[in-house]
Amino acid sequence: MTAASAKAPLPDFGAPFRAPPLHGAPVVVRALCKSYAAKRVLRGLDLDVPAGQFVAVVGRSGCGKSTLLRLIAGLETPDSGRLAVGAAHGEKRESARVMFQEPRLLPWADVLDNVAVGLGANPDRDAGRRRAIEALDRVGLAERAGEWPSALSGGQKQRVALARALVSRPRLLALDEPLGALDALTRIEMQRLLEAVWLRERFTAILVTHDVGEAVALADRIVLIENGALALDVGVDSPRPRRRGSIEAARLEAEILARLLGDAAASATPEVPRPSPRPERTAP
């Protein structure tokens, strides 16, 4: 954090007034409902995400996890319920960034321009360019800045999309299965990159995924959505950076998978253990 502000082009006047490790925005969801035509996708969902937490949302297809993410990211409006991102209301759009399953790069803009899209309506060209190059550097693609997106591989495109999402230093990053279409090795690489970036920037991250292994590898906390409501909420305490293939991780993954697959047996009494928040990130 201090290193990042030292590199910034202008003195960061706000820095003394911000608690450095708490860049992320807290998310509060209360009794959230959303329907499409006759189908009720979310039925009164409650969720509290403390600032800077990495939450993974898992569930079967069509359970409403992507809808929840789209609502939090401001891509859709809820039918009823309360949704607040950050301390102040109405800072939803500016501080939240979405990474989609597809890279969604503009084919007619070069890689650097695509990253600069993430700056939104930033009038300052030179500073914007510098920040875009920095963001590209952070995902290891600085030397591809002048190329067309069509020249990149799937993993590289998704890295450009990550740089685009990060260039405005978002306080909340919503990830809608961004690694779902990648091959297994690229996927693990991207997971490591995501973890490293999150450890440095400390934004709040909400990751929707089908892959329980990925959720266990990345998240502080895993929530399972079933029938439009929270069905399971577990904390993941293993130290970071995480090593893959540890015994606890495998056990946790098996547990959640069993819950996901053995729907009928477990759904009678939904157990909701409290997440164990890590004090250094949840303290105000």
Binding site: E102, L106, W108
Partner: protein, 287 residues
């Protein structure tokens, strides 16, 4: 599309060894030419001309019906010296350009409007589709009654002919811009003019170029017909005058000039396309 396919086919079949080498060592860039740059396309017209000249010289073709290419060339020289040919070409070129600008401009604007705004589409599209199904050349008698054989007649007909290909393809282009890209751009705070300039227009451009190239074909066709029937200047008029006096070489010259102008217009559109769509994988053969 077909062009791109052709290039890749010729490349892999003609140089299989280089291709295999390029896969392991990317340093020597394989030589690739953009489609149409090889000059092979001129081989067939040249052969036809030679055959034609040969047949004429040997007396196989009667000169009164079909003068030899050299006779056509002589006619071109003669008319250039009198100033008739440059004058006619210039007049026809101006008419074509004016029609393209007016008809194409209106088509482009309406295509954008109807692609972007539901209300505009609902109001105008079904009317336009009805008018589109009337062959515009069927309006010639009416146009002559309205405008006589003045410039307005040609401008009207060419504009009308050019309007529809540009309108339809612009509309299609705007409507088929990837909605995921639009959603992405909106989530980054893009809207209004910025969204249009950065996402919608570039996304619609390939389709707009298809419309432009169609329109160029319709433009020449309409102009030829209009100048042949209702004009007092231009290449078509020159050809009709020549027919009166049985100057078949001039008639042939007019036809060849139309072919050359058409080719020129198409080549210009292609060059423009290659410049504007350099990001498109189909235009990266030379990269």
């Amino acid at each position: 599309m077909i062009d791109a396919l052709e290039t890749s086919m010729t490349d892999t079949t003609s140089t299989p060894l280089e291709f295999a080498g390029a896969a392991t060592a990317p340093s020597p860039a394989p030589r690739r030419r953009a489609p149409g740059e090889s000059g092979l396309g001129w081989l067939l017209p040249l052969a036809l001309l030679l055959t034609w000249q040969g047949a004429s010289s040997l007396g196989a073709i009667a000169n009164a019906i079909m003068p030899s290419p050299l006779a056509v060339l002589a006619a071109a020289w003669r008319l250039t010296l009198t100033g008739e040919l440059p004058q006619s070409v210039w007049v026809s070129f101006l008419r074509a350009s004016a029609g393209l600008v007016v008809g194409g401009g209106v088509g482009f604007a309406l295509g954008l409007a109807n692609g972007l705004w539901r209300l505009s589409f609902d109001l105008t599209d079904s009317t336009l589709q009805m008018v589109r199904n009337v062959p515009h050349l069927a309006l010639i008698p009416l146009v002559i009654v309205w405008f006589g054989i003045e410039e307005e007649a040609k401008l009207f007909l060419v504009s009308l002919g050019v309007f529809f290909p540009i309108y339809v393809n612009t509309l299609h282009g705007v409507r088929s811009v990837d909605p995921q890209l639009i959603e992405m751009a909106r989530s980054y705070g893009f809207g209004g003019a910025r969204l249009f300039r950065r996402v919608i227009l570039p996304g619609a451009l390939p389709s707009i170029f298809v419309g432009l190239r169609f329109a160029l074909g319709v433009m020449w066709l309409t102009l030829i017909v209009a100048e042949t029937i209702a004009a007092q200047s231009g290449i078509g008029y020159m050809a009709m005058q020549a027919r009166e006096f049985m100057l078949v070489d001039v008639v042939l010259l007019a036809i060849l000039i139309y072919a050359a102008l058409g080719k020129l217009a198409d080549a210009t559109a292609r060059a423009l396309e290659r410049r504007c769509l350099s990001w498109h994988p189909a235009f990266q053969a030379k990269a």
